[in-house]
Amino acid sequence: MENILTQTTARPQATAPAPVTSAQPVIQLREIEKIYQTKTIETVALNRVNLTINKGEFVSIMGPSGCGKSTLLSIMGLLDEPSGGVIELDGRPVQAYSDRELAALRNQKIGFVFQSYHLINDLSVLDNVELPLLYRPGVGGKQRRERAYAALDKVGLSARTGHFPSQLSGGQRQRVAIARALAGRPEIILADEPTGNLDSVMGEEIMELLLNLNRQEGTTIVMVTHDEQQARRTQRLIRFFDGSQVS
């Protein structure tokens, strides 16, 4: 799977007429490819994706199941490496970052909400939410606790801090996962179907939370969703089909 950058002469840029002058790219994907190789088949999850996320943007991604949304998000979140192409974070190619720097970026810059929560079952809700702060130098135990409580309060779970993930419903777990991403106060939140398991009222609340975060704190948000109405409320909607951006 060779990837020839020079071939991409014209790059169809974002749909919304973003004010080019103030646009400051935080994440840039160039010709990103992701191929999953198994013994029998080769799955092309991402096929030459070019995408720029600007600072302060709220972008939603939609597309049918299996079209590569989660794959795209994990590559943006520096959790996985693309098979080809270049990701730039703050204008610097990711390959140029050391392992230690990448860990620091994941920890401080990015908040990730996993599609299937990924909570640590052996830790209480509070300890789970504290996790990103645990790996952040200079944050003391008391501060960690306070921030975790505040984040849990925002998702309406302040009464469940001592519970363990196995004692929570799917929607509650999803909210813990969101609180965990919030607790670190990252510049960028990458959320994979954050309201997928919530009822419409709770989903609406979370959506409000994200919108507020975006408006008031200027947090850059990329959200994968299946909800057309939610998607319309964001600044930019990207549609995916079969590993490629279609609009």
Partner: protein, 393 residues
């Protein structure tokens, strides 16, 4: 971070129980073997308290001769051998000679308290010279003791004195054993005739004179010879004895040979136990390694997630190492609570220092083993990619 790990260990208590038990038992086993080895080693370095290099143990066999004749013959043998060229000195000794398998011991009350188990050596005036005994107090038996007094003269070892008369002198002290009154006239240095690894256990020398015939068993003599004496002297001595007594058989065993033979019987169980211990430790190490390995493969998702949350690879391996060391500490503390009962209760009369050293050695070894066992799995854990968090559940 430490609190986080303690919370994690506590929350995973069921999974950690197996590991903890394993560490606990490993500690106990190491403690017992360690204490034993240290105890032996400490004893080995103690002075022996006598010389054996140029001495023989000689057992005489009167082969059916009448008792009265036996005694005069024995006295004649002793007289003759003392004048024989090549022989330095000869002493009568009860059957519990150095490096022998024979014991003769007793416990008797003194000042309302029982003495420790004390080995009784029945010897004549020449024994101190033959064995090269050193006195730290008083004197050895001599003609002065022939004067019939109300008390029998005895010489005790330093370890007897320290146990029965702690911190004080013993010469001049009177004791009563059975119906006999005993007067201490001298104190020897620590005396360890049993084997190289024996402790300085209490002993008491009682005087045998020419008036005393052999009470039971065969007559035993200790013979000190000139350095460099060989089998020719042994033959000569045997012949001489046969001539004097009219046919007594003589069994000569040089003490250096006896020492080696005794050493083997003492070392075999120690080596055996050490091998069993080593095997156990190997088992425990493999067990720990296995448990850790499984542990880490079961926790791949957690590790991936921690990486995704911004933990570096080295933070992950430190986490696992620290978790292991915390668990080890817990196991060692629990094991230590059991082990500390040994010195507290004074088990087997081994000095407390030995047990404490044993505990220390066991703890150091356990930490070493767990650190070694945890090292590879932790490195493995550090290599887990954050993308793993996406896939495993």
């Amino acid at each position: 971070m430490l609190r986080h790990l303690l919370t994690l260990i506590w929350n995973r208590k069921r999974a950690n129980f197996l590991l903890l038990t394993e560490i606990f038992f490993a500690f106990i086993v190491l403690f017992v073997i360690g204490s034993l080895l240290i105890y032996n080693q400490v004893n080995y370095r103690l002075p022996r308290g006598f010389e054996y290099e140029n001495s023989w143990e000689m057992t005489l066999n009167p082969a059916g001769q009448a008792r009265e004749q036996q005694h005069t013959a024995l006295l004649q043998v002793v007289q003759r051998l003392r004048t024989l060229p090549g022989v330095v000195d000869v002493a009568r000794h009860s059957s519990n000679t150095p490096f022998s398998f024979s014991n003769m011991n007793t416990i008797f009350p003194h000042n309302g308290k029982d003495t420790p188990l004390t080995e009784i050596y029945e010897v004549d005036d020449h024994a101190a010279n033959v064995l090269g005994l050193q006195l730290v107090e008083g004197r050895w038996f001599d003609r002065r003791d022939d004067a019939v007094g109300s008390a029998k003269p005895v010489v005790v070892t330093k370890d007897f004195r320290d146990a029965v008369f702690p911190g004080g002198k013993a010469v001049g002290e009177l004791m009563v054993r059975d119906k006999d009154k005993l007067r201490i006239i001298g104190v020897t240095t620590t005396y360890r005739p049993a084997n190289d690894y024996a402790d300085g256990s209490p002993g008491m020398f009682m005087r045998t004179t020419d008036l005393d015939s052999v009470n039971y068993g065969l007559p035993v003599l200790l013979v000190r010879v000139q350095p460099g004496s060989d089998a020719t002297l042994q033959e000569r001595v045997s012949r001489e004895i046969a001539t004097i007594t009219g046919g007594w058989k003589t069994d000569i065993q040089p003490l250096p040979e006896k020492r080696i033979r005794k050493l083997k019987t003492v070392l075999v169980p120690v080596i055996g136990l050490s091998l069993v211990g080593l095997f156990l430790i190997l088992n425990v190490a493999l067990g720990l390694f296995g448990v850790l390995w499984v542990n880490i493969s079961q926790r791949r998702a957690e590790i991936g997630l921690r990486r995704a949350m911004g933990a570096t690879g080295s933070a992950i391996s430190w986490q696992f190492l620290t978790e292991m060391l915390l668990l080890t500490t817990l196991g060692v503390v629990l094991g230590g609570l059991v082990a500390v009962q040994f010195p507290l209760l004074g088990v087997l009369g081994v000095p407390s220092v030995t047990y404490l050293l044993g505990m220390g050695a066991a703890a150091v070894l356990i930490y070493l083993i767990t650190a070694l066992c945890a090292f590879q799995p932790s490195r493995q854990a550090a290599g887990i990619h954050p993308a793993v968090a996406l896939r495993e559940e």
